[in-house]
């Protein structure tokens, strides 16, 4: 939902980043307001996942230039856990399996960390069980998964549902969902998408990172951005995704030809 007067939650300005010595992001600009759903599309290697990991604070990536502001504060100054507590959530493309760590216990500790930061009372085991059982419905997840180790032995679909369950519990203001549709069959895609739609409110914003139109058939984005070579080359409405599906990414690459290297500060947006 686009409301020009709604507050800016996330503002990325001229973001440059490297992993090791390898430049990955080369000037990303993006603004997310409350109530909006954005989709970032692009080929493998275009920098989509790097962008998501940097937003969450992954230590392997180095920001070399640019800024990220979350509700006006410098997000890059915060440790990963501080970002999470403040309301930034990354749904992982490949959720990590953690043997021996109970999923229920993990969800409870995470939920209480976020609640603490919001000045809410921590939930004891019983109160949390009530909450988690209610939120399980968002992703139609079997309570048996609570008793298992975090993501251990979960199928691809179960892992993604577990991610959305975490989103439902943490109630983030900025949710970045990195290829949440990958590895999902049609039914699981519908369930996960329905969960995300249920969690989208006028007060939060969602950044979907995806390769495919099929996720956007289920979750309607307000904006679609196309990344290539570390920059956002095109931005449009939901129709842009359809056009991309029709014309392929080569069409986007045409936008690369006037190589911006001479002037990296030049605006990289091309509104369609």
């Amino acid at each position: 939902m686009i409301r020009p007067d709604s507050p800016i939650l996330l503002e990325i300005t001229d973001l440059h980043a490297t992993v090791g010595d390898q430049p990955i992001l080369k000037g990303v600009n993006l603004t997310l307001r409350a109530g909006e759903i954005h989709a970032v599309m692009g080929r493998n290697g275009s920098g989509k996942s790097t962008l998501s990991k940097i937003l969450a604070g992954h230590p392997a990536y180095t920001v070399t230039a640019g800024t990220i502001h979350y509700r006006g504060e410098d997000l890059l100054a915060l440790a990963p856990e501080e970002r999470a507590r403040a309301g930034v959530f990354l749904g992982f493309q490949y959720p990590v399996e953690i043997p021996g760590v109970s999923n229920l216990e993990f969800l409870r500790v995470a939920t209480n960390a976020r609640r603490g930061a919001r000045g809410e009372e921590e939930l004891d085991t019983f109160a949390f069980e009530d909450l988690v059982r209610e939120r399980l419905k968002v992703v139609q997840m079997d309570p048996a998964f609570l008793e298992r180790s975090v993501n251990e032995g979960f199928s691809g679909g179960e892992k993604k549902r577990n991610e959305i369950l975490q989103m439902a519990l943490l109630e983030p203001l900025v949710a970045i969902l990195d290829e949440t549709d990958s590895g999902l069959d049609i039914d699981a895609l519908r369930i996960v998408s329905a969960g995300v739609n249920q969690l989208a409110t006028p007060d939060n914003c969602i950044l979907l990172i995806t390769h495919y139109q099929r996720l956007l058939d289920e979750i309607t984005p307000d904006f679609v951005h196309v990344m290539a070579a570390g920059r956002i080359l095109r931005t449009g409405g939901k129709d842009l995704a359809l056009e991309l599906e029709r014309r392929g990414y080569d069409w986007v690459d045409e936008g690369l030809e006037p190589a911006p290297q001479a002037d990296p500060a030049a605006p990289a947006l091309e509104v369609v």
Partner: protein, 438 residues
């Protein structure tokens, strides 16, 4: 790091020889033998003692050129005052009012008083009288071929009494043996003889605690009859100046099942020697082990599993968490001679290094002669996984809390296998330190 470098850290010869001599004479008093309440005057024990003393004087102290001890410094051992650990009236005095979390029969075991005095044993459990012990004492050691283990000899040379128990049928109440040296100094020798008859079953937790410069040394001999089942846990909670030695010899008849889980941490020096024999094969052995060591602590586990007949099974998982300049040693011998066809054995050693100075020596030693067997082994040494840490932090858990949760997860796989009475001792918290911050 996994390394095969030779350690030169063994205590200087003369000081350690003097220490050994002092310990032997401290336990040489004739009244020590007769003060034992369980089997005093027992000839078999006296003979074992005398023979062990002879052997020990010949062997001297282990040195770094002894293969079985080359990674294990004895410096913490000879810092223990070479005297008899003074007995206390209230064993387990730090929690005299506490009772086990679950229904369990707790016996305090100090090598001095009779742990069974005034105790009503549950159905199926009975004392083996001294005259009847002779048929069993030393036999499990002999079958494993570990009579000459220095640790077993040393312990046998000091022991003045044996706690000897027989199990018939299924004992429904778990048995808990608690040896708590408190902060006292000195040496406490213990010996347990456990005989499970055909189809008998028992759950046993053996707890060793120490907070001062003490050495607890135990020899446990267990015989499992055909079809018998034993779930045996050893939980050792120590301190920088305390040492724990335990030799655990088990002889398994066909159809028997042994689940032996050891979890030790905090000891200046701890060495465990499970020595298991499947006397005719066709038995099931499940070994689980966890060592936690920090500062300059040394944790050593030398296991031996011997299959003396076909169709035996072994599932062994040994783990270590090693921080600071601590050291973990795991030596896992598995012997599969020609007669042990169709043996299935797996051994895995998983180690978590938390510091650059920590050290792990994991040495599998599989001797396989039989040709129709399935034996696997493996060892991993890793650090905490950065992707796991990041995943937890990205959900709001602080770096310390995330690391702690991963550590607990690593340990729980072993701790969950301890017999139920272990929960009373809060093993994860006791081994890893403070509780998880919420």
């Amino acid at each position: 790091m996994v390394s095969l470098a030779v350690s030169s850290a063994t205590a200087p010869g003369s000081a350690s020889a003097a220490w050994l001599e002092s310990v032997l004479s401290a336990f040489d008093q004739p009244q020590f033998l007769s003060s034992g309440g369980v089997s005093s005057g027992d000839l078999a024990l006296a003979r074992i003692r005398a023979s062990a003393r002879d052997h020990l004087r010949g062997m001297g102290m282990p040195r770094s050129h002894h293969e079985a001890w080359r990674f294990t410094s004895l410096a913490p051992l000879i810092a223990v005052p070479p005297r008899v650990l003074p007995p206390v009236r209230h064993e387990g005095g730090s929690e005299p009012e506490s009772s086990p979390a679950t229904e369990a029969l707790r016996l305090y075991w100090d090598g001095d008083r009779d742990p069974l005095a005034g105790v009503v044993l549950p159905e199926g459990l009975s004392r083996i009288e001294p005259a009847a012990q002779e048929a069993f004492l030393g036999t499990a050691l002999a079958e494993a071929g570990t009579e000459d283990s220095w640790l077993a000899r040393f312990s046998a040379a000091l022991v003045g009494q044996v706690l000897a128990l027989r199990v018939r049928g299924r004992v429904s109440v778990p048995l808990e043996l608690v040896s708590d040296c408190g902060d006292r100094s000195g040496v406490r020798p213990l010996r347990l003889l456990l005989v499970l008859e055909e189809n008998a079953s028992l759950e046993l937790l053996q707890v060793h605690r120490a907070a001062g410069p003490s050495l607890s040394t135990a020899v446990v001999e267990t015989r499992l009859g055909a079809g018998a089942r034993l779930r045996h846990g050893v939980l050792g909670l120590g301190s920088d100046t305390s040492c724990l030695f335990a030799h655990l010899a088990v002889s398994q008849a066909p159809g028997s099942e042994l689940e032996l889980t050891t979890a030790v941490g905090g000891w200046g020096l701890v060495r465990l020697e499970p020595a298991l024999t499947q006397s005719q094969g066709a038995a099931v052995t499940r070994l689980r082990g966890l060592q936690v060591a920090r500062d300059h602590q040394i944790a050593d586990l030398h296991s031996l599993v011997r299959f003396q007949g076909p169709e035996g099974q072994l599932d062994q998982l040994q783990k270590a968490v090693v921080d600071d300049a601590a050291r973990s040693v795991f030596h896992g011998a598995v012997q599969v001679p020609r007669e042990a066809q169709r043996t299935k054995a797996s051994q895995l050693s998983r180690n978590l290094l938390l510091s650059d100075r920590a050290r792990v020596d994991a040495i599998p030693q599989l001797e396989i002669v039989a040709d129709d067997v399935r034996c696997t082994h493996g060892a991993t040494v890793t650090r905490l996984q950065q992707e796991e840490l990041f995943y937890l932090r990205s959900r709001g858990l602080g770096a310390d809390q995330a690391a702690r949760l991963l550590l607990e997860g690593f340990c729980d796989e072993i701790l969950d296998a301890l017999p139920e009475p272990a929960s009373f001792w809060q093993p994860a918290r006791s081994l890893l330190g403070q509780a998880l911050p919420q």
